[in-house]
C-alpha cells in the first residue's frame, strides 16, 4: 500500500476483499507499542485517528523532495508542490461524491470550515427574526458559531430534540423547520451517541422552505461512503485528522453558486485578484477562501489517507465497523453497572460508543483503562448541552476504527470488569 506521491491515481479504487485487520494494524506504526506493561489498545478514534505509514511517509517525502510554497512559483519545486496540493483537492472532490474541485476549500479543520461559513455566509444572510435550526446532539463546533451568530443578529436558534434512545426526534419537525428557517446545521453522525442522522430527508425539508443546509461530517466522513450530491448538502465539513490524515487540515465543501456569492475569509495573499489601498477584488474559487500559505505538506499527505481509505473501500469500512460495533454493544451490555448511550442498532449508528458506570466517574474509568494501555476519552466530548439533556455530567467513550478488532474490544471489556473490583465495588 506504499504509494509514490508523484504519480497517484485520482480514481476511486474500491476495495473488494474483506478487511484484514492484522494487515491493517501493521500499517500503523504507533499501534505497535506498549503503554507500561500493556499493549496499546487505541479506542479514541472519534477524537483523532492514527496515521498509516503511507501518510507519514507522504509528509516525509514532501519535505525531503518537493517542499516549496505553492501558487505562481515558476520553479520546479513550486510547480511540483502546487500540482500535488491541487491533486488532493481533485481527489477530495471525487471522494465526497464527485463535486467540482473548486468547490473544495481547505481549512484547518471542521471547526475552521464551519466558522468560515458562519463568518461569511452567516454574517450576510442571517437577519433579525430568522431561524437557525440545529440539533441537540451537535458538537460545540457546530453549535457555538450559531449560538453567537443568532445572538448577534437577533435570530432564533431552534433545535431538533434527541430521543432518550439517542435518535433525532422528528415528531415536530414541521414546526421546527419553517418558512423562517434560513439555515439547517446538523451533524451527519454524533460524536457522543454514534447516531447517523437522516440528513438527506432533513436537507429535503430544509430546501423545501428555502433554507441552506450545512452538514457537519467530521464523524461521518471517516466511517462511511459520503455523497454530498445525494444528500444535497449546500455545505459539508470534515477533518482530515479523523480519517487517517494529518492534523491541521479540514475541508469545506460548498456549492459553487453559494461560495461564489460569499465574501472571502482569511484575507491576504493568493486570495485576491488585485489590491489597491482603496479597493480589493477577489480571486476566483477556490483561492478566494485560501488566503495565506496553506498547510501544504499536510494537504498533500491527506491524499494518501484518502487513497488508503479507498483501497479498503468505504463500504467495507462501514461493514467492518457495523460488525464490530454490534459486537461491542453486546459485550458492554453484559457488564453490570454499565449504561450505554445511543442507538442499539448498529445499522443506524457508527462506532463511537458512550457509556457510564453507575458508581465510577468517567474520568476514573478513563484513568483506570489507561493503566491497562487502553485509550478512550471521558468528558463532555464538546457536547455540553447534550450531556445535560442526557442527565450526565460526562460519559466515557470508546470509539472504533478500521484497525480495531474483537481483541481490542475484549481487552476493554476485561478491564472494565477489573475496574469495579479496583474501586472496591
Amino acid at each position: 500500500m506504499e504509494s509514490d506521491i508523484e504519480n497517484r491515481p485520482t480514481a476511486q479504487a474500491k476495495g473488494l476483499l474483506p478487511i484484514d485487520i492484522e494487515r491493517i494494524k501493521a500499517d500503523f506504526p504507533i499501534l505497535d507499542q506498549k503503554i507500561g506493561d500493556h499493549q496499546l489498545v487505541y479506542l479514541d478514534n472519534a477524537a483523532s485517528t492514527q496515521k498509516p505509514r503511507v501518510v507519514i511517509n507522504a509528509i516525509l517525502e514532501f519535505y525531503r523532495k518537493y517542499n516549496a510554497n505553492i501558487h505562481r512559483g515558476l520553479h520546479y519545486l513550486s510547480e511540483k508542490a502546487t500540482a500535488m496540493y491541487e491533486h488532493t483537492r481533485e481527489h477530495t472532490a471525487s471522494f465526497i461524491g464527485g463535486v467540482q474541485p473548486k468547490e473544495v476549500i481547505f481549512t484547518g479543520g471542521t471547526t475552521g470550515a464551519i466558522n468560515l461559513v458562519a463568518y461569511t455566509w452567516g454574517e450576510e444572510n442571517i437577519s433579525e427574526g430568522d431561524e437557525i435550526v440545529i440539533s441537540e446532539m451537535e458538537h460545540h463546533a457546530n453549535l457555538v458559531p450559531w449560538v453567537i451568530l443568532a445572538k448577534k443578529k437577533n435570530a432564533v436558534l431552534k433545535r431538533i430534540p434527541v430521543t432518550p434512545d439517542g435518535y433525532l426526534d422528528l415528531t415536530n419537525i414541521d414546526t421546527i423547520i419553517t418558512q423562517k428557517t434560513k439555515l439547517l446545521a446538523v451533524t451527519h453522525m454524533s460524536n457522543v451517541l454514534g447516531t447517523i442522522n437522516p440528513v438527506e430527508a432533513l436537507a429535503k425539508k430544509a430546501h423545501a422552505v428555502g433554507a441552506v443546509v450545512l452538514i457537519d461530517g467530521a464523524q461521518a466522513a471517516p466511517h462511511m461512503p459520503i455523497d454530498v450530491k445525494a444528500i444535497d448538502a449546500d455545505f459539508y465539513c470534515l477533518s482530515a485528522h479523523k480519517m487517517l490524515g494529518p492534523t491541521g487540515v479540514g475541508v469545506l465543501y460548498g456549492k459553487a453558486e453559494l461560495l461564489d456569492a460569499m465574501p472571502p475569509f482569511n484575507l491576504g495573499g493568493e486570495m485576491i485578484r488585485e489590491v489597491r489601498f482603496d479597493k480589493v477584488t477577489w480571486a476566483d474559487l477556490p483561492n478566494k477562501f485560501e488566503g495565506g500559505t496553506p498547510n501544504i505538506a499536510d494537504v498533500v499527505a491527506f491524499d494518501s489517507a484518502l487513497h488508503y481509505l479507498e483501497e479498503l473501500g468505504m463500504d467495507n469500512i462501514r461493514q467492518h465497523e457495523m460488525d464490530l460495533t454490534a459486537y461491542t454493544l453486546d459485550q458492554l451490555s453484559a457488564i453490570p453497572g454499565l449504561e450505554i448511550q445511543g442507538p442499539r442498532n448498529s445499522n443506524q449508528r457508527g462506532g463511537a460508543i458512550s457509556f457510564t458506570d453507575s458508581d465510577i466517574h468517567p474520568h476514573d474509568i478513563s484513568t483506570f483503562l489507561d493503566s491497562k494501555g487502553i485509550a478512550i476519552r471521558a468528558g463532555h466530548h464538546c457536547a455540553q448541552p447534550l450531556m445535560k439533556i442526557m442527565g450526565k455530567v460526562a460519559t466515557a467513550r470508546a470509539s472504533l476504527y478500521i484497525y480495531n478488532n474483537e481483541q481490542d474490544v475484549d481487552a476493554l471489556v476485561k478491564a472494565l470488569g477489573e475496574m469495579r473490583r479496583y474501586f472496591g465495588l
Partner: protein
C-alpha cells in the same frame, strides 16, 4: 500514563471516596460556597459554620470523580475544629502542593499527602483543587462580610 495508577488512587483516597466525610447537612452556616468544574462536570456544595474564629462544622457534597470526592472529604475531615486562620493557611498550602511546589504540610494532616500523587496526572489536578479553592472563596467572602460567595468556576481561579 505518566504515573502509576496506585500513585493516584492510594488507599486513603479510595477510602475517602467510598465513604466521604462531611456528607451530613449542618444546621446553620456562616460560609456557603459552590464550586464547579465545567470541563469535568464536577459540582460541589460547601457549607461551613464558624464559631468565633474556629470552624465548628462542615458540610460538603461533591458530585464528581474519585479524586474530587476524596479531596472534598479530606477537606471536611481536616478543617473541622481548626482556627480559621489555620484553615486558610492549609488550603493555600494544598493549592501550592497540587501545583507542584514543595510545601511542608502541618503535622496532623498526613492524609493530604496522598493528594500529591495527582500531580503526575496533569488533567486531574483540577479535580483535587476544586474543594480547596471553593473553600478559599467562601472564607474570602465571609471575611469581607459581603454575603454570598460567587460560584467558583474552576478555570477562572487556577
Amino acid at each position: 500514563m505518566s504515573g502509576s495508577l496506585d500513585d493516584m488512587y492510594r488507599d486513603i483516597i479510595l477510602d475517602h471516596y467510598k465513604a466521604p466525610r462531611g456528607k451530613k447537612p449542618i444546621e446553620e452556616a456562616n460560609i456557603a460556597s459552590d464550586g464547579h468544574n465545567p470541563a469535568c462536570g464536577d459540582e460541589l456544595e460547601l457549607k461551613v459554620s464558624v464559631d468565633g474564629s474556629t470552624v465548628r462544622d462542615v458540610h460538603i457534597n461533591c458530585k464528581g470523580c474519585a479524586i474530587s470526592v476524596a479531596s472534598s472529604s479530606m477537606l471536611a475531615e481536616q478543617i473541622k475544629g481548626k482556627p480559621l486562620e489555620e484553615v486558610k493557611g492549609l488550603a493555600e498550602q494544598v493549592r501550592k502542593m497540587l501545583k507542584g511546589e514543595n510545601v511542608q504540610l502541618p503535622e496532623d494532616t498526613d492524609d493530604l499527602d496522598a493528594l500529591k500523587g495527582v500531580r503526575n496526572f496533569p488533567v486531574r489536578i483540577k479535580c483535587a483543587l476544586l474543594a480547596w479553592v471553593t473553600l478559599l472563596e467562601g472564607i474570602k467572602t465571609f471575611e469581607k462580610g459581603t454575603g454570598e460567595s460567587k460560584t467558583i468556576n474552576l478555570e477562572e481561579t487556577d
